[in-house]
């Protein structure tokens, strides 16, 4: 494969429709290693669908997704499972597995159908728990831990996959203020330290502004704006995307904050 395809996720001219309904209408972008990319868009704009197309769990009508030069949709799951670590939004797991058992499931792409994780696999899982700072949860049941801890466990599972590219579907949507920042700080640290990449579907523009290197604004299945966070997160672009009046306020110390322009409701 051509060398310029290596070390990145390349989405080219992707189209997808549910039944008659066209949801993704020709998207192209690229996320290189070491970059945290946020997908922004309103409800139903196609963020989750796009994430699943990149993950290869949805089959596009046309276009392709390559990861390190490998076509995601024509490659065995066991191969793509070593590259892409998918972290679902809210898992509704039926069985309350032990946290360590849940994390070690990340080794599945490396195991054949009849084998089970070895000592080494459990060591890799333990290391992932350390990386996420949750070794104390090891023996707990997944039913007993909080939403934030659950997200950390699922990210640990993706680390156990030894994935280079993390796909996260609204990882902060069920979390409190502190946990939102904790999760994104962890993801950012992972991306920078391990030279990984992350594509994160997000609702909160403030969190995206703070943590993302790259922003893809998605509107009704097409890319409206795309580029480095500073260039894309402007008042005009945000107003166009969310269809409300927006002010990007300077809060000092280089920090910025996105606020709706309408006056706060009086009591």
């Amino acid at each position: 494969m051509p060398g310029d395809n290596n070390g990145c996720i390349e989405v080219s001219n992707l189209r997808f429709s549910y039944a008659q309904d066209c949801v993704i209408k020709g998207c192209s972008f690229r996320v290189s290693r070491g970059v945290l990319c946020c997908l922004l868009g309103r409800n139903g704009s196609g963020k989750s669908t796009l994430l699943r197309l990149i993950n290869g769990t949805l089959q596009p009508d046309s276009g392709q997704v390559t990861v390190d030069g490998i076509d995601v949709h024509s490659t065995q799951r066991a191969i793509t499972g070593r590259k892409l670590g998918f972290v679902p939004q809210k898992h509704n797991h039926v069985f309350p597995y032990r946290v360590l058992d849940m994390v070690v499931m990340g080794r599945t792409p490396y195991l054949d159908i009849f084998s089970r994780p070895s000592r080494e696999d459990y060591l890799i899982a333990d290391k992932a728990l350390d990386v996420m700072g949750i070794p104390h949860l090891r023996e707990r049941s997944c039913a007993e831990i909080s939403g934030g801890e659950e997200q950390l466990v699922l990210i640990a599972r993706a680390i156990t996959q030894e994935a280079t590219y993390f796909l996260l579907d609204e990882p902060t949507s069920h979390l409190d203020f502190a946990n939102q920042h904790m999760i994104l700080t962890t993801i950012r640290r992972l991306v920078k330290e391990q030279k990984c990449a992350a594509v994160v579907a997000m609702h909160d523009p403030n969190l995206s502004l703070r943590f993302a290197d790259h922003i893809v604004m998605l509107d009704n299945g097409t890319i409206m704006h795309e580029g480095p966070t500073d260039e894309v997160m402007t008042e005009d672009n945000l107003e166009q995307l969310y269809d409300i009046k927006v002010k990007v306020a300077d809060v000092g110390g280089g920090g910025k904050c996105i606020l709706p322009r309408s006056a706060a409701p009086s009591l």
């Binding site: 699943r52 799951r77 039926v94 069985f95 309350p96 499931m105 792409p109 159908i113 996959q161």
Partner: protein, 335 residues
Amino acid sequence: MKNSLKLLPAACFVVIVFLGSMMCGRYPIGLEDILTFLSVDHSVVRFQEPAVNVLYHIRLPRILLALLVGASLSMSGTLFQGMFRNPLVSPDILGVTSGCCFGAALGILHPGTSPLLIQLLAFSFGILAVILTYTIASLSRGQRVVMLVLAGSVISAFFFAALSFLKYIADPYEQLPAIVFWIMGGFHRASWDMVRTLLFLLVPCMVFLILTSWRVNVLSLGDEEAASLGVNVKLLRPVLIVVATLMTSCCVSVSGTVSWVGLVIPHIARLTAGVNHDTSMPMSMLLGSGFILLVDDLARTVTASEIPISILTSAIGAPFFAYLLIKEGQKSAWR
């Protein structure tokens, strides 16, 4: 290592029930005789002795049949509950049992009826029912797991209607009781030929399910997560369905319906051995075989005539499960 320790008491339970089953019955045989019988080389056993005759030709095949059926139904139940992510699922869910019952009734009504014909028809219709279920689910565009379960209930309803029709037109003095008695199930038809065939068919399936049991954990996370973790769901699920269907169909076609086992034993296995299928699958195998053997001992000894097995499995299984739900509910595997 820790996991094997959990299985040890269950294995002891099966061995004790096994020895007890050889002792109990109309012809009393002592434990010493049984241990000599088991330790003696079978090529030199003299079959004239009545005790050996009863053990070898009557009790042993029946015991083995009960063990095989109990293990198979419980393991299929564990697999289906895991794979379909649903605590209410039993091996019947894709329509196997209703198909088998219809096939058996057809065999009983056939002019040239014979035990073999009944078994073959039961087995074939059990498989056919699942093929139909799978086809319906494949034709719909909905969520695959939900569609399979719904299509299964459609096919079950259809075959139960067909079965009712057969009962309606059956001769009420000979055929109808035969159908009803067949459906209620029992291991009285056991023979060495039957056990040999079943060993040949079921043991490879059981080994397969034990070997793949860790992967059922991943499958139980749902299609999307399983696929993200590198599982070829579109291949693995049909393969597992084929294996479980083969097992259930074999069992039901020789013993009729054995209700509740495939539903309750997986729950009990999970409560005792944990939710990880790696341990709950072998646990189901042990508990299922031991439980069915115990119940069959009751079925053949409690009254002078035989009690149909499904009456006892429900009558004992249901209250015991209710007790477990109340007592162990707080650490239940389904929260």
